[in-house]
Amino acid sequence: MGMTPRMVGVGMAIIASATAWSVLFLPGLTAPIRPSAIARRLTPLEARGRILYIRNGCIGCHTQYVRPSDWGLSALRVSQPGDYVYDQPHLLGSERTGPDLSQEGGQHTNDWHWAHFRDPRLTRPASIMPRFRFLSRPRMRALIAYVQSLGGKMADARMARQNDWHRRLLAAWRRGEDANADFLYRRVPAPWRVLPNPYPATQAALARGRFVYEQECINCHGPLGDGNGPAARYLLPRPFNFTLLKRHPWSGGLLYYQIMNGITGSAMPYFKQDLESAKIWDVSNYIAVEFIGKNIDSGETGSGIPAAREPAPPPRP
């Protein structure tokens, strides 16, 4: 049987309709999707932000789903179909030039996002995201509101916590820098406040610490460690001035704890995903020696002895 135009056309129509039935209509008919436990509708402000997210092509670099194999900042929960019921269009994305954003809401404070959108290099020096400083203030607010909604009700819980701490931190910061330092000190669990840095502050360790500091910290805390980096003017409370610790109690463990967990309610993010523990200890040593002017590592050179088990050194003034 020879092929004719009619035969090819009809054959193609049959294939197209059979396929459309099986892969387009059937999924919707067989698996009606109900909202998941974390799904919620966007507020009008967030919905406006979502439109800005679409129009600026954010989907080209950021995904919005967590796979079972994922690690990283957003990998708190593997995505479920019910997370997306209110999305139109979907914004799953296909490329991770930047991080996944499906649980981005509440990971950072609004002022961090403000600085980040003005110039991503301020908060993330190695970032290759373009600057979105052309967005007007209301648009910036809408976009940030949308980003803070990512993660649905989980994001809401994180945001509530951020906002609560933000109020308290702001109050402490307004009471003056010494009161602020005391407040931050008291927030850290007691064992960490007396824990010496288990890594000796050797020349090599300080060089590594400096490298990490320049990659992650310098734009907020500044080259002098006084909290006057270029991003500082966007942030409230302002980045911490390490030189203050010359007249306050501190320890390597205290610095480690704050870097690892971040300071909820402020722009200080947590680094436990981005930095391995050795790197956090190294940068703690660097901050201590370079900005506070003291070396209170545990003095150990060998390995195998956990410094935390040794009798705590007396707190130094």
């Binding site: 004719t4 135009p5 090819v8 056309g9 054959g11 193609m12 129509a13 294939i15 197209a16 309709s17 396929t19 459309a20 099986s22 892969v23 387009l24 999924p27 919707g28 698996a31 999707i33 679409i54 129009r55 600026n56 092509g57 080209g60 789903y65 796979r67 194999s69 690690w71 990283g72 900042l73 995505s79 479920q80 179909p81 997370d83 997306y84 019921v85 209110y86 999305d87 139109q88 269009p89 979907h90 914004l91 799953l92 296909s94 490329e95 991770r96 030039t97 930047g98 991080p99 996944d100 991503p120 993330r124 190695a126 970032s127 290759i128 995201m129 373009p130 600057r131 052309f134 981005d274």
Partner: protein, 470 residues
């Protein structure tokens, strides 16, 4: 030089203008691509919102897909269809209207995407009015092809024609459904369902549009240039029907790790691997047609481009089938590996065949093109460009994938990508040089040479013997 007419009724004008437009869009789209590639290395280079990476990336993609590839392949395909029918195109005027509609759509898309008018579905970013233009143009194209074939003097319907018909019919359906055109404002459904529809469209714009046109043109040009009949017409049947049947179901392999239904993913995986049957049937047919004639490849620009296109088709299809497997996706999904795959498929396979076919048509129309040497030079520029692209992007993908699997954050891996990103931008200049050479060569050929007489184009031509075999 004859006066320029918007609607030119002279024989061959539609094919010629489609091919020339495609060459022009190729240059425009690759220039946009270069800017985007440079911005990945120097993100602060451009301040204007209209030239930021996330806004011009879809412009680069869509201008290449709908401008360069679609137009060049349509032009060459209209030529092939009318040549095989041994009859002129049914209506050159209608063809010219289609051409301007299509150009309007591509131009509107290229400008409107950086302005932020987007529907946000990959490859389906065009907003509704542009979708309407494309669908209208497709419908006119289908009409022209069917009417031309109705008046064909050669009764046997050669395989190239099957692909032409298959492509326009299936694409009309896929474009309308996939862009959810009954929702003009969003062009989208809700939630995961929207993702499933979007990727049905996203993959099929290659599966039933770009690739079939390119395959059909291989069937047309490769035997002619090798001066040897097609190896097997039975094999071409095996390459045709299973191709469409398998291909249209693979969209969900873009969602293997997203929360889509498991059975849908399974369908996509099975069909993605099954697709290798028609792909290898096609390739065997092409390469066996070349048996004993391999020495012809270096001498003919058309054969060079098209043969290289089939080789890259082999690699990109085999790679694609493997990439649809979950074990490989765990490592390579979301990385630049996929970007390399897309460039190898669209530029390496379809782009090379479009260029080869474009040169072939112009040589038939004008006897010879302006500079054969430049055309060969373009081939090498593009080959170095695409081979290098695939290499550095695959390398970047492996770096990203293995680092992420090891628990590194996306941010931490960015510094590792500076060198591949830089290499990619540099290699892009090779591709742009190729595009520029081609556009120039086409312009000089079309506006510098007198067309040869083509008796078979005359509507009243009686005997076919005079043109057979040409």
């Amino acid at each position: 030089m004859p006066r320029f007419r918007f609607i030119d009724a002279s024989p061959g004008s539609t094919a010629r203008r489609f091919i020339l437009s495609g060459a022009g869009w190729f240059l425009a789209a690759t220039l946009i691509g270069l800017l985007a590639a440079v911005e990945l290395v120097a993100p602060d280079l451009v301040q204007s919102r209209y030239f930021l990476f996330p806004r011009i990336r879809p412009s680069h993609v869509n201008t290449n897909v709908f401008g360069f590839l679609s137009m060049m392949l349509i032009g060459a395909m209209l030529w092939a269809v009318s040549r095989l029918a041994q009859a002129p195109l049914w209506s050159e005027k209608l063809g010219n209207c289609t051409l301007w509609l299509w150009n309007a759509a591509v131009f509107a898309g290229m400008v409107s995407l950086p302005m932020g008018y987007t529907q946000s579905h990959e490859y389906g970013e065009y907003v509704w009015p542009i979708d309407v233009l494309i669908v209208a143009a497709l419908a006119l194209l289908a009409l022209n092809i069917f009417k031309t074939l109705e008046r064909r003097r050669e009764r046997l319907l050669y395989v190239t024609n099957w692909y032409a018909i298959g492509a326009v019919v299936a694409t009309l359906a896929v474009y309308f459904l996939g862009n959810v055109m009954w929702h003009p404002l969003t062009g989208a459904l809700h939630g995961m369902n929207d993702a499933e529809w979007a990727w049905f469209y996203g993959h099929n714009i290659f599966g039933v549009w770009i690739t079939p046109l390119a395959l059909g043109l291989c069937y047309f040009w490769l035997p002619r240039e090798a001066d040897q009949p097609l190896y097997s017409h039975t094999l071409s049947l095996l390459g045709f029907w299973p191709y469409f049947a398998f291909y249209m179901q693979v969209g969900a392999h873009h969602l293997l790790e997203a929360p889509a239904p498991g059975w849908l993913k399974l369908i996509a995986e099975i069909n993605s691997v099954g697709l290798l049957i028609p792909v290898y049937a096609f390739l065997a047919n092409q390469w066996l047609t070349l048996r004993g004639r391999w020495w012809k490849i270096p001498g003919s620009v058309t054969l060079k481009f098209i043969f290289a296109g089939t080789v890259m088709y082999f690699f990109v299809s085999t790679q694609g089938a493997l990439m649809a497997l979950p074990s490989e996706q765990r490592l390579l999904h979301f990385t630049n590996w996929t970007v390399g795959h897309a460039h190898l498929g669209l530029l390496g396979f379809a782009g090379f065949i479009a260029c080869g076919a474009g040169y072939g048509v112009l040589r038939e129309m004008y006897g010879e093109f302006w500079s054969s040497r430049l055309a060969h030079l373009q081939y090498w520029f593009m080959l170095i460009g695409i081979a290098g692209f695939t290499f550095v992007l695959s390398y970047a993908g492996l770096v990203q994938g293995s680092a992420w699997r090891n628990g590194e954050t996306v941010y931490r891996v960015l510094p590792e990508l500076v060198v591949p990103y830089l290499a990619r931008a540099i290699l892009g200049t090779f591709i742009i040089s190729g595009a520029a050479i081609q556009f120039y060569n086409f312009l000089r050929t079309i506006y510098g040479r007198a067309p040869v007489r083509m008796p078979w184009l005359a509507p009243e031509a009686g005997s076919l013997d005079a043109v057979a075999g040409g």
